[in-house]
Point group: D2
């Protein structure tokens, strides 16, 4: 396994990449102040694996080689692995207070693993062996891999092949003897600039006319055909300011980028699906299912931080003993732990796939994510309630440091004088970023849309609800279908 | 194990009991139309254990004897047992559409087991051995046991010994060489008339001045000193009418009664706590914790029935394809499965006690119950929404059978003519009873108050929230307590 | 105006009616214990008009004759009249704790008034003059009139003329020189047995093929062709028991019945629409609009009672000072007053119709009702929370009066001993009936479905939302459509 | 009345002020890119008064002089004035999509007016005459006045005179023959830099020991003793970037600043309270009451914009016809109109004060604001749901304009090709700013805390709830206090 320092070095060692940030092509993403906080997050997944107290959660024994590997590279072998995944994500969420990005690769790993196995079994293809070799290298090199799914999609009311522009979904534009050429783009790529590899999957169930879009493959992140455009976030440019206080979460942050596949060549040994439309649905659902489970860990970890910040600001404001404040914090905890319960439950109810790794319970994973689309918003509202209006009206840290008005700032922004004003200032900034700023992008909006928007979960819940069996229960009890038991 | 038929016979075989129903002393509770539906529910826990397809859930291997026993008599041996308990409760909830009462004994069993063990270890008492002998008989005879906790409590703002009337909490009024004499009453005793035994526990943490109230013991249900007064339920007397259709859930129902201990003698071998105030809190919390877990099974099982009834009435009304109807049913499923997730999660996260049996995760069990105090009400509201106003305005079944207006009723109450009017009539009655009538008592109000009212869970959540650890996370991230990791 | 006593006598003076209750034809509805509480409610609208302190709200000056009339017979002449209507309904809701039924006639009055006027203006018919004469008699005789709209509807997925049975909507079966013959039935007729007259309206917008169903007319309540079948309510038969305590709301109740028009003849002077399909939508929307406003008064009045009962039971339980109890009561008040605000607002924003009377603001009236479909459920849940589990497990009043266990009941059910146990008993029964029993039928389920089910309001809100104007605001602000103002 | 252009010039004409922004003292606030959008908002209140179509709402006839004045300077003369105020605020909210700041002065005007009148009547002071003269000038000069209330407050658990630092609440430090000297600061001053005058009020009910803090007065905004420190907002520095697209709401914004009274002299004719602690509560409650009403207008106006943006983005994304999208937009409208209903209702139920102007209904105004602390958060969540994840991952406008990747951006970010990509880009930025960015500060967080945090409204609701009267209703109905009416 790599250390955190080796991981950061490994990003420096990547070949030149076409990366655009705020309209400029940049040369050194690793030290770019907009990007570095997100690298720190991802590096935390390596760092914690170094620390003995976290190794039970952060590492696992490879099912392929028996060697100790980072759990982010692991094929889940039982429900305990699934539960440990959730706990690991909560832990890293605690340590970064942010999206740490590496889970998308882990979720893609497990989804592609079982899908290629079943695809080969049904169709006689050999994708699973190819993917097995790829996974061996992945584990060995302790890669961060970008699980890459969401296409631009253009007009949501029509499918890939009906779009005015064929490039709005990634597709195979050429099949060659040595491999395929793909073209298109993927949106919202969490942590892609911090990844060594990109593992591409189709974004939805494909119909026969969309066969060219049914493609899964891997490419190295520094493939020269790729173009990256960095996404803006709320308050992003505070990271460019001279002081870090106003950033709130001073060292960590999330990352989303667009990646463009500008006629990218992929050799056959890295192609894991190519036209098998009947397996697109399975792959998408499994990846989404794993990722919906993930949110029952990482967002809960972030929620812990926001609850802690709220409890701290209640202290600093001198209101920690007010009954309504205590009750609101209980509500925040209750909502956060409900999300955790869903993450744990879909793991505990996981089952073995034909390929041997474990899949979460799909109903409960979708229920988990559906709750994640709601509760963090209420938790954030309650945090702002207790924080007070100053969370959005406080002068800048530059004012706090001003020779002319700095003293006034420190004098007036005091709360309970037991605590330094600077602590209050920093804690308010943390709450600001988690409810409105850069962290809110991940904690709120991506809680809505990551791993599929709310309606996507509702469709799955509807499909899995087994209403016919439930109707039969009701018919029996009201006497329409008596069974004579009693 | 007893068969369901043997169980019902065993209730007939009990000695004479002082049972009052609607102001009258009754002689034959087993065939009383107000009581029998609740006996059918409890009998279902025996019946399902007879059926091969349910034996994995309904039975277990005794940890004491290795024999196969009904899971309702079982000491949970691992997290899988805890999970199976939840699934068993969901199953019985499905089959009865009602509260089936037997879980309170199971929850008391597991709580008293571990508490007496730790009490003996600390204080040198020998309660655990006594209780072990009691449990052996319990398993052997396949008893239904009433777990008996809630005292009348009188004025909630003062404690047991400060009440104007000392009998408002059960207490020891005499200690004799051969045993103790207890006096007082317990309220809301679910299924007590369907039980062979009553296992009494204190209702709250006791203070030194309340030592006489720190008492746990078992008595046979037909002890002649006991007086039972049956509780009224919404729509209870429909069960006395000549037709069963208007009952809604035609064969099953819940049961709550007051039991009075009118100077009841208990021999020492059936006394499991007597004055050890420092263990009252543990006993109450563990019983409550197990019982809060239970609600993540039984109420989910009832919820399945209500969802099924709602889906069926949507068919009968001809609205099953309306998008808002489908969406509301998805919401009902989502809320119901969230409760289930909480039940599963607190089980999966259970841990071994010193005594060897398994305890649920207390935070998640409290979170589970807190959600149960909310979601069934919303599920019920949505059920009524889809059912339509007829659920509360439909003529009686006597009208449907009237020679004068019966034909009109059947003609006018038709929905989609594909379905018989009688099916619509019955299904509406089922929804009525689950949202307003006798079943609503259990599905709604007892979801609020059973296993402790909402505030009780909030106090536990607050106590378990570990806010100091969460504050430390926040302080680290906003730079108050930097740790140099990044 | 009639006194309350005269009103009750006037019901006795009606001719013989075909009324079926619980399968039996009854002779004396006025003194029937299932019906009388609902008559008391309606009589309250007469009684309060007798009392000087309420005359400003309860009476009005007729716009037709200048005489003082009961406001329930009044054509609203300005927004102050609309506001006074809401306040009157809240008052009567306070005094009855129940649905008092007379508003449906008032709402039909105002809707038919303006619709017939506009119909005549457009089509040259003379319905308005006929209706004017009818209203003069109505005001003069101080009638209670049943506003009669909802048809059985059968299969909701097809229209009136497509039903398998043509009688599932009221229709004209014969047009004669002297009048029309109608056939069909109306469901959920609130207070119809307490009414002197029945004013029938179509239930939905009719299409050309449904012209026979576009019919509005009035018939006397004792027309011999009519058949009434009384609807069951939760806990209805408690009213037949010897004690009134278990009824909860001891003197008052609601009423819903089916009315069958078994080839009823209506003379032309009482026909107010006959085939004018293009005005069916207007009539339905206006009646529904007025009635959706009504719920911002009557249900608020009932809510006051439930809040009062909850505050009282908090006293009796000895928990009135607990911060969570106080906070829950604040929440109940907040929700209840939000409903009132909606009732007031749609009144204050009313506008004059072409016919001269005032119509509520349709958007706000629909918003009002939409909230009424939600908040009473949460208010009821909070009431049960504070009441405690005894609300559903308390022994019957017969037990309280039993020579054998009555003393036990009174001893054990005590709360704070400052208050008699009987007060606690009665207050719990009131909360029971308002949240599960006969009053809950009106306070909860009819809050969902009365004046149209939730989806009906959403369709209206959607239609009135003026999204195009809102989109234009957004386009201007983000710079798509700059206007140069700034 | 001033034109908008004259208003902006009048700000330039103010004397030099000590204004600090992001740590720097600035010279030209009017043209400062961080400040100008907020000036545009305030100028809109002048501009709309110029336009004939808005004059009925935007202007009023002065009760003091009979002249036409801007309604923002008006003493409300009847409930129609109160209603028009709400409509005016909704209108300006529509036109600015932002907080436009001028209402705080109007609310202070009306509160100080009636309070000084009652103070003089009780205490024989002559504050009202002084204030009348001040108001005449205010109307005449068409001032924007900052209603200035909230003190820093320091430790919330102790009062003004118990703070470690006496300057944490504004107080009188010297009384001279010609006036008083005040010291302290006020926080969260909305629009203060766009104001001509500052009207200071105490922030809470004062106790005898806090008499020096019971002070109300007016000072010109360019008094040289004043120091202003501008508050940071989420995404504030986007306004400093070269392109305006990423700002979202391109021309408008809110403003909050700290103002420091560094030993400010106030002549007696501008002092409106000085030590009369018994009237501090009245003044605070009335100002808060008016301001809680205001939120039922301005935030509704902003809500319209967000709903419009959401409906537009649904078009652009090609999902406008999906039933779940339509339903969510209905929900947004419903919530928004509920807020409006509360604003209208507390206005319609206003009453005349002893001084002659009209006061809103206090219960309903508090209910209004309480809802405002909740619903905009849900509206914002739904907006993000429909917008899709791109709202937080879209590249910067600089990328859209980049010669290297601009074409890719425009190609890939297309939705339904009927609409230009730029429209989608701009609309997403508008939704971003309203839910996470600078506008969210006002639309969300200030909806929580402006005019008092949620708990402040709950305390008022509790005080006004009249629970004793409600208990009496309940006691009558359950038969504890029968009145023999029925």
């Amino acid at each position: 396994m790599m250390t955190a320092a080796e991981y950061i070095q490994s990003l420096r060692d990547l070949g030149p990449r076409n990366i655009y940030v705020l309209g400029e092509k940049i040369q050194n993403p690793v030290d770019h102040p907009l990007i570095r906080p997100s690298i720190n997050c991802c590096a935390m997944t390596y760092k914690l694996a170094e620390l003995p107290e976290y190794q039970e959660l952060m590492t696992a024994k490879s099912a392929l080689t028996g060697r100790t590997i980072n759990r982010f590279c692991h094929l889940h072998q039982d429900t305990e692995d699934l539960i440990k995944k959730v706990k690991m994500l909560r832990l890293v969420g605690n340590m970064t207070g942010s999206c740490f990005q590496r889970c998308v690769g882990m979720d893609a790993l497990n989804a592609v693993w079982s899908t290629t196995y079943e695809m080969d079994a049904k169709l006689g293809t050999n994708y699973h062996e190819r993917f097995r070799n790829y996974v061996l290298e992945w584990e060995e090199k302790d890669w961060t891999v970008d699980g890459c799914m969401t296409d631009p999609k253009g007009n949501r009311s029509v499918g890939p092949s009906e779009q005015a522009d064929p490039d709005l979904f990634v597709r195979v534009v050429e099949k060659r003897q040595d491999g395929i050429v793909v073209r298109g783009a993927k949106m919202h790529q969490t942590g892609i600039l911090n990844s060594h590899e990109i593992l591409v999957m189709p974004t939805q169930t494909m119909r026969p006319e969309d066969a060219d879009y049914a493609v899964a493959f891997a490419v190295p992140a520094d493939d020269p055909s790729l173009i990256y455009i960095y996404g803006r976030q709320s308050c992003d440019t505070r990271k460019l300011e001279s002081t870090k206080v106003d950033v709130g979460n001073v060292n960590y942050g999330g990352q989303e980028a667009v990646v463009i596949f500008n006629n990218t060549f992929v050799p056959w040994n890295r192609v894991f699906m190519c036209g098998e439309i009947e397996f697109t649905g399975m792959l998408v659902e499994r990846f989404a299912g794993y990722h919906r489970q993930s949110y029952g860990g990482c967002k809960v970890g972030n929620g812990d931080v926001l609850i802690g910040a709220t409890a701290a600001i209640a202290d600093y404001n001198g209101v920690a003993k007010a009954s309504h404040v205590k009750d609101k914090i209980v509500e925040m905890v209750h909502l956060n732990e409900t999300l955790y319960a869903c993450g744990i439950a879909c793991s505990a109810e996981g089952r073995k796939t034909a390929s041997g790794n474990y899949l979460i319970d799909m109903m409960l994973a979708n229920v988990c994510k559906q709750n994640v689309t709601r509760f963090p918003y209420e938790i954030a509202r309650l945090a702002q309630d207790i924080a007070g209006g100053l969370v959005v009206t406080m002068p800048s840290d530059a004012d706090f440091n001003s020779p002319e008005v700095g003293e006034w700032c420190r004098k007036l922004m005091v709360g309970d004088p037991k605590y330094p004003t600077e602590h209050r200032q920093r804690m308010l900034r943390l709450i600001e970023t988690m409810t409105l700023g850069a962290v809110a992008v991940g904690y709120l909006t991506e809680s809505l849309h990551g791993a599929g928007s709310p309606q996507a979960q509702r469709i799955m819940i509807s499909r899995l609800a087994n209403l016919e069996q439930k109707k039969a229960l009701a018919r029996r009890l009201c006497g329409i279908d008596p069974d004579g038991l009693f």
